[in-house]
Amino acid sequence: MTVFVSSLARDWRANLRQPSQIINPLAFFLLVVSLFPLGVGPEPLVLARIAPGVVWVLALLAALLSVEGLYRQDYDDGSLEQLVIGARPLYFAVLGKATSQWLVTGAPLTLLAPIAGFMLYLPTEQVGWLMLSLALGTPTITLLAGIGAALTVGVNRGGTLLALIILPLFVPVLIFGTAVTETLLLGASREFPLLILCALLAASITLAPFAIAAALKIGVEQ
């Protein structure tokens, strides 16, 4: 547990010292949201219909943009190697890093979702559900993205490779995440996709750190 806390605190401080890394993905998110009314046309009904999907896809892309540097700096300055060869469990260190990563990407993105919703004429009663689905889905996304980031840690300019690896893994989260706000249109229950999102989150918290740790060990050795 102390490993988790120290790793979380260290990354949190490191992130605060580089505000651009936090702000850039969020600015990207809002910027692209504002492009949709220009590209699709300003009809409120059309925009409201696509709003949850747009917000969710952009959340995936923002996670993709921000995760690339997650292990890169630690890899370059050697602290990742110390983490891997150290005696303390890598699992909790990885979980701490992922939590800190979520606090600066997924959490603010969830808080910004209402703004994106208003820009896309999302009905007010849907905004809360969109935020809830993002709050449950973005931690899973951060953990899955971490697997890709760890696998490509030693690869020069691994950006497109990273996208290729993790975007297919995001598919279930995207489907159930958007289903939470779309069900009103289909008349089905919201509980089912919400419960599935919780299940995906529980599974990824328990399993993803193992995959990330294994990938980091491989990355450090090469």
Binding site: L169, I175, L200, A214, A215, I218
Partner: protein, 259 residues
């Protein structure tokens, strides 16, 4: 290059000893190269015979479907390629686990050899399904459960292929691919069910090797022959590719240079 000599470790006397011996032998590139040369001809001959009979039977002899007309005949290619593409992914995941747990060199080669075949098979399954979908569903592409999950599988194959190419050191590349194959293996059923609940148009499977078929024997039997034939074809190509990889990776070993 010490492997190739750690076979026959006295496991024969135990129950299932032969299985353990086979397992140990499979870890030896040299043994695989020798025995693979013989398996290659066996699987190759079966593939040629089964695919010839199955395809001619399916395309020329099998009756016309009362609803779909002749267009249903593409299933004699579509169904086997889709089945083999999925099995190939399971093989990749299993090889990945074997590689990470036992560090078996042959598992790495199996993973490396299988990925391009699976990529091709899933691409063929998608292409043949798309050609069938045009007259039957009225569209080249319909985003439904099966098509999307097969497409995602294709992307995972591409990712596996690209990841191996991107990491310069071969051993690290193999183990990174193993991690990705296992993660993909866990994720494939999740993707499959998530897209099934999301949107479904693709008919459910009416084909199974063990159950009574829901279609007449005149359609079912050629399909069965083609499925087994495609499996044999897959095994042939896999073994041929693995033997090439053995020669490439063991090129420093004496037995390779003596060939």
């Amino acid at each position: 290059m010490s492997s190739g000599r750690e076979t026959d470790s006295g496991a024969q006397r135990k129950p299932h000893g032969w299985l353990k011996t086979l397992w140990h032998k499979l870890g030896s590139p040299r043994w695989f190269y020798d025995i693979g040369g013989r398996w290659l001809y066996g699987f190759g001959a079966f593939a040629v015979v089964l695919l010839t009979i199955g395809t001619i039977w399916g395309l020329a002899v099998a009756p016309i479907d009362y609803q779909q007309g002749n267009s249903y005949r593409i299933m004699f290619v579509h169904v086997p390629t889709a089945i083999v593409a999925q099995s190939c992914f399971m093989l990749c995941g299993a090889a990945g686990m074997v590689l990470l747990v036992w560090r078996m060199k042959m598992a790495d080669m199996a993973l490396e050899a299988a990925v391009p075949i699976g990529l091709l098979m899933s691409a063929l399954a998608l292409a043949s399904g798309s050609i069938w979908g045009r007259p039957t569903w009225g569209a080249w592409w319909v985003s439904d459960a099966r098509t999307v999950s097969t497409l995602i599988m294709l992307f995972l194959y591409i990712a596996l292929y690209a990841l191996r190419g991107a990491i310069p050191r071969a051993e690290a590349a193999g183990r990174a691919c193993a991690v990705l194959a296992i993660v993909g293996l866990v994720n494939i059923p999740i993707i499959k069910y998530s897209v099934e609940w999301w949107n479904t148009l693709h008919q459910t499977s009416s084909f199974s090797v063990v159950e009574r078929p829901a279609m007449p024997a005149s359609m079912y039997l050629p399909l069965l022959l083609n499925v087994i034939g495609f499996y044999c074809f897959f095994a042939t190509v896999l073994i041929a590719r693995m033997r090439t990889l053995v020669l490439k990776k063991e090129s420093g070993a004496r037995w390779v240079q003596e060939l």
